[in-house]
Amino acid sequence: MSEPMIDIRGLCKVFGGAAETVMPLVREGIGKQELLDRHNCVLALRDINLAIPAESIQVVMGLSGSGKSTLIRHINRLIEPTYGDIIVDGQSVSGMDASALRAFRRNTASMVFQGFALMPHRTVRENIGYGLKVRGLDRDEIDTRVSHWIDRIGLDGFADRFPTELSGGMQQRVGLGRALATDPDILLMDEAFSALDPVIRVEMQNILLELQAELRKTIMFITHDLDEALRIGDDIAILRDGEIVQQGAPQDIVLAPADDYIAEFVKDINRGRVIQVGRVMAPITNGTTGPAISHDSLLEAAAIALAEAGADAGIVTAADGRPVGAISRGDLMAAMVARATAGN
């Protein structure tokens, strides 16, 4: 992998008056509670290291209070780090002066918010064009770009409505449109879909994945919903009490949860839609025959393929079509129902 697009290095955040003086204690590993009791400081993030490759979706998952919203606000420096640095495309975000930071926010990273945060006094059109207007583009230019995005995210006919006239899903489309209209390299999504109904949420996830297939942005996506994380993440970092407790590909997290906390999370997950055949296949043995199944197909898809072919087993093939392993119905079933503890 080449240079990461976003590189978070040793990031710590302490809220509270004497933040500077307690940093040495934090590095020595003082407990969160002790820090609060003795020094009246809240430790929000401790030594976060995360490298996000360009054009990928990095999900940061955690429950409320885990520090995930604090973390994402460090990327565009809505919150100042106490210690550590964030390097975006080779440039230190904490080193930027006020005008460089404004330029960074206008051109490079834009944000989608949990509560939509649309401007109630502006129409849909004006909201989507907000970032462009702040950037100082002329009206015609803004109009063309905004019209493109209104069309692209399915808001035709709503351009001159006010946000309060729209449903939640529609409002978040506006939020997404506003973020994309500035054509940023980085999209920061802070629980962007958490406030939506389950059906609308899935719909928005699909829109995002569709757009991502075409736009190839670097996306940091915050969520507290594991299903959502597994669905859209290329890579997932799990945050707990301000620390990353596990990071990896979705199927790695499901197959090998790092601790009981994560195991508890993943135990009710539909493993058939997360794990790929390549992870659970058996070595190829002589005489195995059956339909060819790509190594990166999901267990569920493989099961369907076997059932349709009426075969008991299949040959797993690599990207180049070379056979690399075998998978039987029994293996598939075992992998789909295995309890998380089995992966430990």
Partner: protein, 299 residues
Amino acid sequence: MADTSWWVTFPQMERETLVGFRKALDGAYRDFSRSYGDAIEAFFEPLLFFLVWFERLLINAPWWAVLVVVCALVFLVGRSWKIVAGTAVAFLLIGYFGMWKDTMSTMSIITVCTLIAIALGVPIGIVMARSDRARTIVTPILDVMQTMPAFVYLIPVVMLLGIGKVPGVIAVVIYAIPPVIRLTNLGIRLVDRDVLEAADAFGASGWQRLVGVQIPLALPTIMAGINQTIMMALAMVVIASMIGVQGLGQPVLRSITNQYFTLGLLNGLAIVALAIVFDRVSQAYGRRMQLQYERISNV
């Protein structure tokens, strides 16, 4: 005996010291007004010129022209035919009862005072909203301005500038400006934090944030402040007339001294009519803006 007297009577300052203190302050202020009075008066010269010009304009214009312009303005701002009709009736009655000229004078001074109060009050309110320190400084000053009897601050103003329109305007503005300052501050502080964060996240500068987000979203609240300011300015009309401000306050003052009940009542009612017109118009405007922001779509 002398030792225990403090137990019975309050141990107050020596009478001579107190007199000396008052004399010193009075003397200092008198010296100040003697040496700077002319300069300060010259500073307010353009304001006086404008006041006189505007008052003459209203008085000398034909009554029907004033009526048409007022009704047109009322409609533009309030967008309600009911309010326009009420305004027309009020002005026709005022004219019919012979109070047209005084009403024009009062309207001119109220308009100028309101504009000055807005021009000063909104920026002060903005500064207050942006800095907690400014707020802790300004709030007690506003408290004093609102509770100090108007007569008390009339004294230094009259000592400095004499009797006339300008001191009248200053007195009215001091009395009427607190609501617009307070409500501008409040309105801006109440703007949704999430929306402000979004503005920041898209790289808005402080000015873009203020003009594009904070002021527009605070506008309904600011309008409520302006409405209150106008009402308070009208309430000062009678007191201002004591220092020579022309208008509806003069006949009221005359009827107090001479016990002309009807004259007082009619002019009082004219002030009330003006107040209601101003109030309804500014409220209708505020409501219109509020509706625009809060259009609810759960149909």
